[in-house]
Symmetry: C3
Subunit: 143 residues, 3 copies
């Protein structure tokens, strides 16, 4: 199974909260890295969601917002991954920005508009935070 | 009424589940094709949602994840449309991939990053599955 | 604090509805402009959401659908901002469309596929409506 989603994470379900229509699922990706997703309850049942179950989480590069100087900002997005710019690939409308996440082997790719890269003054090596909403995460079970 | 959303589907509401904040709506698009959307209850009221009501569903090309070799994978995305690559249009950052959906007149367009097209080895004629979340669907009523 | 999100709005919380997993938050942006977001309850608590609290709302350019001739269309997206095309920047796959919102100082930027710009016949000065889902809004508190 391969997908076009540029960002893939793996880990066991560490928390699960069930609502009337949607459930909130948290995966433990590493010692200090967690990811939260919201999925419909139909999907939760289809995946057989339960604490401890190993899952993959996919996030499209276009779902990610990059933030710099985030000190003091509180943001609704449940997922906030701190990293460092590793590579920037410019296009006429969009740019692809790759981050390395220190303290983990994870790499994260975001597609943002090219004027945003200019406005944020993004450059290789710069600290940057990737944020994405729980609702933008796809969960996959391969067993 | 015309929208920038590349993917448009039409059908009657075949199921409706109401939560505290959001509702889950399923449209029947064809004999073996259904689409599920989540909308806020304010929207559901605005649309006059009820079983049997005819609606349009819009999905942005950028909301779609493409998947190959999906056998055995269970995925949280409620919408999974099997198709065949019909056309690929490459750009410097993103690529546009058009699928035909066999057994229906529907065509579906996805925008994914260009490196993903390379990584998946996408080519015209290849079987591929388009997946998108219920939360990425816009519903429209024109009456 | 700066983000890659092209669209930023500010205003006080004018309505708040709490569900089991998610909350719906409305910000008053101006005399006749409001914005609705859905966030998980964990985020709502993190932000200290309450009526009257001043927040920022971010929307990615890629989350926006453009619509023309929308008269008579009822749409599930909670956010519908009427504007006028101010600028179009074409790329090979995507195009960036900037709108001015009359009666306010706000400008709004959407990234849509370039064929959509052609299909809609978008041109500078043309009336167009930008729509985005409550689930695509990021809320930020800076105090």
């Amino acid at each position: 199974m391969k997908t076009s989603a540029r960002n893939q994470f793996a880990g066991p379900v560490s928390a699960l909260r069930v609502g009337a229509v949607e459930s909130e699922v948290t995966l433990r990706l590493g010692p200090s890295l967690a990811l939260t997703a919201t999925v419909t309850n139909g999907s939760a049942q289809n995946l057989g969601l339960a604490e401890g179950r190993d899952l993959l989480a996919f996030v499209k590069a276009s779902s990610i917002v990059l933030m710099v100087d985030e000190e003091g900002a509180r943001i609704s997005a449940r997922n906030r991954f701190r990293g460092q710019v590793r590579q920037i690939h410019h296009g006429p409308v969009n740019a692809e920005v790759t981050l390395s996440l220190p303290g983990s082997h994870h790499v994260l790719t975001a597609v943002v508009t090219d004027p945003s890269v200019q406005r944020l003054g993004l450059a290789v090596g710069q600290p940057v935070t990737a944020i994405f909403k729980a609702s933008s995460v796809f969960l996959v079970s391969t067993d």
